[in-house]
């Protein structure tokens, strides 16, 4: 039964992808890419990856679509050139050859779902066995993400941080960009119903974000998903009430501090472990018992992730919005 659902979603994925690439209307392409993200999130859920599904839904279908739409507000939404025929032929050949190579190799891969495949025999069972012992938390994904591979996650936070300062550096400070124009942007003030409903929803979204943040050790979720949710709530506020209002609630200065302090909090936990005699990011030394230390460490670094992600996503939104109203 699940297999049929799987095949159905896979088919939908391919169809959506084809439509995305072939549509000449960019708006359609972007909306289809949002649908694609939701479909692939459903597929992740079927494949037992709840955390990934939550992230993909929040990021791919939510934030990414908002960013694309913000950028499209500035451009022609019609694709005018079809491209050079020669390039299309060359890319078709490249693509076809690569596909043949991959499909050829799949025949020698372990079968889908085979528990005897090497990946289920080495390393991964150790994690499943040791997360309850080392950290005593139910969500194994959070345990690996926060501690065993915490250094990767540190890198991930800095990737987000880089994107934040990158967009600011490329598009310029939103406040300065906004000074050049009259404040005609009032959000959706004249739309009564969306405004009322939206305002009612914002507290719930933030509440859910906080739940995802602090319940990440027990259920799917964590700093990144929570950050995306809280940022979505603030972005919704900005859409309803206008960016000026949103910038009054959380000024740019605060956003700068959020971006930097989240990354520093994460790094700081690592350095604290270093100073207390452990290796970098070795949370075991942070508290009286190693298990408590691990739990504190994961809690703190997840907060760092949440802070940075929230700050960066809101900043990126403001940076785009300030441009598109020029």
């Amino acid at each position: 039964m699940v297999e049929i659902l799987n095949i159905f979603i896979m088919l939908m994925l391919v169809i959506t992808a084809l439509a995305m690439v072939s549509s000449r209307h960019l708006f359609v392409t972007v909306m289809l890419s949002g649908i694609f993200s939701l479909l692939i999130a459903a597929s992740f859920l079927l494949l037992d990856a709840a955390d990934v599904a939550l992230t993909e839904a929040a990021v791919g279908a939510g934030i990414s679509t908002v960013l694309f739409l913000g950028a499209l507000a500035l451009m022609d939404v019609e694709e005018t050139t079809r491209g050079v025929r020669r390039i299309r032929m060359v890319s078709l050949i490249v693509v076809a050859v690569t596909t043949i190579f991959i499909v050829h190799a799949t025949f020698y891969m372990p079968a889908f779902g085979d528990i005897n495949a090497p990946i289920h025999q080495h390393v991964a069972p150790w994690y499943i066995q040791h997360v309850p012992i080392h950290m005593d938390i139910p969500n194994i994904v959070t345990g690996i993400l926060g501690s065993y591979r915490g250094y990767d996650t540190l890198g991930e936070v800095f990737v987000v941080f880089t994107a934040g300062i990158g967009v600011l550096s490329i598009l310029g400070d939103p406040i300065k960009n906004r000074q050049h124009r009259p404040a005609h942007n009032r959000g959706l003030r004249h739309y009564l119903i969306p405004r009322l409903v939206g305002r009612m929803l914002i507290p719930f979204i933030i509440l859910f974000g906080l739940y995802v943040q602090f319940h990440g050790e027990y259920s799917p979720g964590g700093g990144f998903q929570a950050g995306a949710l809280v940022a979505a709530a603030i972005i919704l506020y900005a859409l309803l009430e206008g960016e000026d209002k949103a910038l009054q609630v959380i000024p740019m200065r605060v956003l700068y501090i959020m971006m930097a302090s989240g990354a520093l909090l994460y790094g700081g936990v690592g350095v604290a472990a270093l100073l207390m005699g452990g290796n970098f990011l070795d949370y075991s030394v942070l508290a009286s018992t190693p298990v408590a230390g691990q739990q504190w460490g994961i809690l703190l670094i997840e907060m760092g992730v949440g802070l940075t992600v929230t700050g960066v996503l809101i900043t990126i939104f403001h940076a785009f919005a300030a441009r598109s109203n020029l």
Binding site: L188, Y191, I193, P194, V197, G198, M200, L201, F204
Partner: protein, 109 residues
Amino acid sequence: MDVATTLGWLAAILMLIGAFFTFVGGLGALRMPDFYTRMHAASLTDSAGPIFILIGLMLISETWLVAIKVFTILVFLLITGPTASNALASASLLAGNKPGLANDQSEAE
């Protein structure tokens, strides 16, 4: 028939009804003549379909917690769906997209 089986059958029927509404909504969005009628079809059935499907799911959920969660989802869907349709329609109207009325059509012919 014990209670569980009855509930199961009831849930199946409710979900089928919900699926039917959703399907009709999709059909309407494809076949209706202009933007507003299409949106009307999609929006109405997008509220009706989930009501039946989610109530069906609530009937067969194993614990109360799950049922409450599904109910919460239903409440949010009932609030956000129509709001989105409203926003979409007023945006379209604001952009100058006039509804195609019956007499307009006769003029066009």
